[in-house]
């Protein structure tokens, strides 16, 4: 028995570089021989990954909007009515301070509010010049919550105060954003799962053509004592190549497509808006890693499935 396992080890170490170059060569040759089916395989992988790309970009951007605006979510702004006088203003401030879950309450006069708005606009601040005389902004209290969970409670109690004109807080927006993100994510995963299955099916059929054409060779290889890994090698390489080509195409399309969109939005719309978009140069690495691993994975699974039957000799 010892001797047998020793021999097994020899079988394994025989999988050397000579074999590797043989496998890669065979993979390319058969991919070219079935170029119509190879084309279909690459197409299906590309289609699946493109849709994955769109969904990923949607999710990434929704998440980004959520993080960029995160600090606004635990903030409740109370706008005071125009005719509230100094003492009422103080009274309201004191009342708010008594609420549960309050971290801080800061009074913001309409003048301060205008100044902050100008700063936010940066270069475009001149747009607000001249408003000082007839300031349309209300006085307000900016309330920081200890935690988002106090938001509903605090808002309810604020509504009970007199002299309050409007209350703005972004939990609603956050909730909606998260619902959209979850829907996109769930729907996306179902669609992608389906497309990946189709891609595996098409790739495995493509490779079945090669396998069928080389049935005799595989049979002889089995009888002469080739290992399953060795026999499988060229087919797996073929599948990997098909998946890899699909991945490279879709990486290029998604990256340059998004870059174009990002640039156009940047030029056409205010700079302010693009703060919410994930910059295109940040997605390249992630997309590459995800697409290459899924593409190659599809190829490997497809090819292993297609040859399994023929290894049983």
């Amino acid at each position: 028995m010892d001797k047998l396992s020793e021999m097994n080890r020899e079988v394994c170490t025989a999988m050397n570089f000579r074999n590797l170059s043989y496998m890669i060569k065979q993979g390319f040759v058969s991919m070219w021989k079935n170029r119509m089916m190879s084309f279909a395989s690459v197409g299906s992988v590309t289609a699946a990954l493109l849709i994955l790309g769109v969904i990923l970009l949607l999710i990434l951007n929704i998440n980004n909007i959520a993080t960029v605006t995160q600090n606004q979510f635990d903030e409740v702004v109370v706008y005071l009515e125009e005719d509230v006088d100094q003492s009422d203003t103080e009274r309201i401030g004191d009342a708010i301070n008594e609420f549960d879950g309050i971290l801080s309450v800061i009074y913001q006069s309409k003048e301060q509010a205008l100044e902050i708005m100008k700063q936010n606009l940066g270069e475009n601040g001149y747009l607000l010049e001249g408003l000082e005389e007839e300031n349309p902004l209300p006085n307000s209290y900016v309330i920081q919550l200890k935690d988002l969970k106090y938001a509903d409670d605090v808002v309810m109690r604020l509504e009970g105060l007199t002299g309050v004109e409007d209350i703005r807080y972004l939990k609603d927006v956050l909730d909606q954003l998260m619902t959209i993100a979850n829907t996109v994510r769930l729907g996306g995963f179902i669609i992608i799962g389906f497309l990946i299955l189709i891609s595996i099916f098409i790739i495995s059929n493509t490779i079945k053509l090669t396998v069928a054409a080389r049935k005799r060779e595989i049979n002889i290889m089995k009888y002469v004592g080739a290992t399953n890994g060795f026999i499988r090698g060229p087919f797996v390489v073929e599948g990997m190549l098909l998946g890899l080509i699909g991945a490279v195409i879709s990486i290029a399309v998604v990256y340059f497509g998004y870059k174009y969109l990002f640039t156009v939005l940047n030029e056409e719309l205010y700079v302010l808006f693009t703060v919410y978009l994930v910059p295109y140069y940040k997605i390249f690495q992630d997309i590459t890693i995800i697409f290459v691993s899924i593409g190659v994975g599809i190829g490997v699974i497809g090819s292993v499935l297609s040859i399994r039957k023929f290894l049983k000799v």
Partner: protein, 228 residues
Amino acid sequence: MIEFVNVTKVYDNEVRALSNINISIDKGEFVFLVGPSGAGKSTLIKLLLKETEPSAGRLFFNNKDITKVRNRGVPTIRRKIGMVFQDFRLLPKKTVYENVAFAMRIIGAPNKEIRRQVPIILSMVGLSKKANSYPNQLSGGEQQRVSIARALVNNPSLIIADEPTGNLDPDTAWEIMKLLKEINNRGTTILMATHASEIVNSMKRRVIAVKNGQVIRDEQRGVYGDEF
């Protein structure tokens, strides 16, 4: 070197291919395996090649128990066995040389060794001049020589020939038998399944006759017999 101990094989469809088989073959023997179609000859060969597992009993090869060997262990066993088929099973798009070299290549032999070994084997089977021919340019006998060369090239300790003369005319069949005898004389064990009664009768070697999944006769210097 080969030992079947109480081997029984029942296939999944409940066909009982072999019942309680006991066979022992020594190193260097030349054994004919005879019997009607469906008697169990192919199953015996399949068990040796580990294409299938015995349902009961034990199987030894080169003094090792291979009853339970699976997956990774199978190639190791097959590299010690040279297979010769009735239909030759050559690769039509490869030359004679490449067909033989293929057997070495797929077990990862270095090119240097392939270039040294293949011509030796081709000259042994008398095909040195046909090294660059393709199988369809050869006669049936020559094709079978190529397939024997391929079976021999990795120095197996056993050659299993499954009806090697089945597709050949009598004269060519005898040439092939001469070659197998020569190989046997160099020490390689040969197990040959055949229906060729004339060959069996005149070779006067050990004959194992199977019928209905049982060994009905096992004798040295045996004959084909008329049981079937």
